[in-house]
């Protein structure tokens, strides 16, 4: 403590300790927000199995399951002061074997996902930066300043727009209501056969990504640490038979016609 440099070092050194302790407290504080009221339920709307290729030049034709589902979820209790964003996904579990009644572990495939960011804080770095740059005089004006001014205006606008909107709907993010939502990802199998696979169920899962602390999983995923909440999975169903597309049917007919022609010649 005898010289300035020495004092800078000791202040910074103890600051790192304080920062660590405060972060640890913030990370632990999420136990105060158990989010037991969070709920999500998913129902199958439509399923079909079609033939396709993994990519354009592939000669391998395999079966893909395309699912549509209804999702009702209120995940707003998962948002607390330490939540950065929420990753929500719908996944299907199905028998890994095409032998009925097989005891192998079920496969899990994510068919749809989304990221729900927390409501942006007025004190976040981006918004504060734009506000401060917008305060700069025009003499130092440049494209960056002009852009920041536009952004600052937009922040202000979106704020007022949100406040008028909030009267109509909930301000908290995380409320999902999807009808007949098409899956983002199709399910395929290493065998290339997926039709009539049995005991398929749709589930909902999520990851709560905090600013500091541990990644939290949804109940039912089996991972720790996990949040509270209830998840209603869909009724078990079976994949249908391969659906003949119009094009495939036309091709088949053309081939048969060709064969018949050859036979007649």
């Amino acid at each position: 403590m005898h010289s300035s440099l020495n004092r800078i070092q000791s202040v910074f050194g103890f600051f790192t300790t304080v920062a660590l302790v405060v972060s640890a407290l913030a990370a632990v504080s999420v136990v105060v927000f158990p989010a037991d009221e969070a709920n999500a339920s998913v129902q199958l709307k439509n399923v079909q199995v079609v033939k396709g290729r993994p990519h354009y030049y592939s000669t391998k034709r395999e079966e893909y399951a395309q699912l549509r589902f209804d999702l009702d979820a209120d995940l707003s209790p998962l948002f607390n002061w330490n939540t950065k964003q929420l990753f929500v996904y719908v996944y299907a579990t199905y028998s890994s074997s095409d032998v009925p009644g097989s005891q192998v572990r079920v496969s899990e495939s994510i068919i749809w996902d989304t990221i729900i960011p927390a409501t942006p804080s007025p004190y976040s770095w981006e918004i504060l930066k734009d506000k401060i740059i917008a305060l700069l005089p025009a003499s130092v004006s440049s494209d960056a300043v002009a852009a920041a001014k536009r952004n600052a205006k937009r922040h202000a606008k979106s704020k007022s727009a949100k406040s008028t909107k909030s009267k109509k709907e909930a301000l908290a993010p995380g409320v999902l209501r999807l009808r007949g939502q098409k899956g983002k990802y199709q399910i395929s199998d290493i065998t290339g056969r997926l039709a009539q696979r049995q005991n398929v169920t749709l589930h909902v899962g999520w990851n709560v990504q905090p600013w500091v602390g541990a990644l939290m999983w949804a109940p039912g995923t089996g991972a720790v640490p996990r949040t509270g909440g209830t998840i209603v999975s869909s009724e078990p169903f079976d994949f249908p038979e391969v659906k003949d597309t119009k094009k495939a049917a036309a091709e088949k007919r053309a081939k048969e016609a060709e064969k018949a022609e050859k036979a007649s010649v």
Partner: protein, 101 residues
């Protein structure tokens, strides 16, 4: 050159006396602990972790401002160092054994 550089060196080194060192140590610890606790409480009350970040950083900068510069309050008890034996023997300025002043 030395007369010129010496004050600059003093300012940069910013030496303080022993009592000042104890005070600076105490102040830095107390202020940082308080700012850490305050930042957590403020962030928790307003439910915004960005406020925790900014209050914590502001508190740390304030602590540095209070502790780092050699404020006069840290130099109120200067140590009375013993001079060299020659200086003690004859006060005043002696040049070649002849007392000038």
């Amino acid at each position: 050159m030395d007369e010129l550089l010496a004050p600059i060196q003093d300012v940069i080194e910013g030496q303080i006396d022993f009592h000042g060192q104890r005070l600076a140590e105490l102040l830095s610890t107390v202020l940082l602990v308080i700012s850490g606790a305050a930042s957590f409480v403020i962030g928790y009350i307003y439910q915004d972790i960005h406020l925790t970040l900014w209050t914590g950083l502001a508190g740390t900068l304030f602590t540095a401002f209070v502790v780092v510069p050699p404020w006069p309050v840290y130099n109120r008890n200067p140590e009375k160092w013993l001079g060299s034996t020659s200086a003690n023997a004859a006060p005043g300025i002696t040049v070649d054994g002849v007392k000038v002043q």
